[in-house]
């Protein structure tokens, strides 16, 4: 899915998320919910810095974080070389926000299928075929 579309879907689905940015781990912005590109770049850099600072806390394998303040919360989720960061109001439902961010990151990073295969309609069994699969 297009990263910008994934973020648009995120803010539409989650009423808790006020703004979000999708970026490379280096801090390069991929997409954001802002119309101002500079704002997205600043937020992407700040998210990468926070992730780096948290990663330097002594343990490896950091995959996500929440910083909860009285002014609001920020969430950062990492998947490989990409990250997504979002801001919410105070006291959000953290589990839901993490779930939505992980879904967004997965959708934004997955390659679009060349052509979606239509699901084949299941053939209805005729009355005479009932039980034909049973062992004789």
């Amino acid at each position: 899915m297009d990263p910008a579309q994934a973020l648009a879907d995120l803010t539409e689905i989650s009423s808790q998320i006020e703004a979000a940015v999708l970026a490379e781990e280096s801090g390069a912005v991929i997409a954001s919910t802002f119309t101002d590109a500079g704002r997205g770049e600043r937020a992407a850099r700040a998210a990468a810095e926070l992730l780096r600072a948290a990663g330097a806390a002594g343990r490896s394998g950091l995959v996500q974080l929440e910083a909860a303040t009285q002014l609001g919360s920020v969430f950062v989720v990492r998947d490989g070389a990409r990250l997504v960061a979002a801001a919410t109001g105070a006291s959000p439902t953290a589990g839901l926000v993490f779930y939505d961010l992980k879904t967004t990151l997965r959708l934004a990073t997955e390659e679009p299928a060349p052509e979606a295969a239509k699901p084949r309609a299941r053939r209805r069994k005729k009355d005479g075929e009932e039980g034909s699969g049973e062992a004789s």
Binding site: V21, A53, A57, G61, L62, L65, E66, A67, Q70
Partner: protein, 69 residues
């Protein structure tokens, strides 16, 4: 009559005590903090006032400001 007043005063006292405890607990929960989640499923929380909390929270405030504009 006097006994009823005593019971009412006692009830008010107990209610005030419980309310103050709940308020204090709620206020304590509102301290700024950073929760880190690791791939093995573990989580570490750093509250303001701790070394790591005080180091990470400025980054979080910066990100919050950038995201909110």
């Amino acid at each position: 009559m006097r006994r009823r007043k005593l019971v009412a005063a006692l009830a008010v006292g107990v209610a005030s005590f419980v309310a103050s405890k709940l308020l204090r607990r709620r206020t304590a929960q509102r301290r700024d903090r950073v929760d880190l989640y690791f791939e093995d499923g573990s989580m570490v929380s750093f509250a303001e006032g701790s070394d790591e909390g005080d180091r990470l929270l400025p980054f979080a405030f910066g990100l919050l400001a950038d995201l909110r504009g």
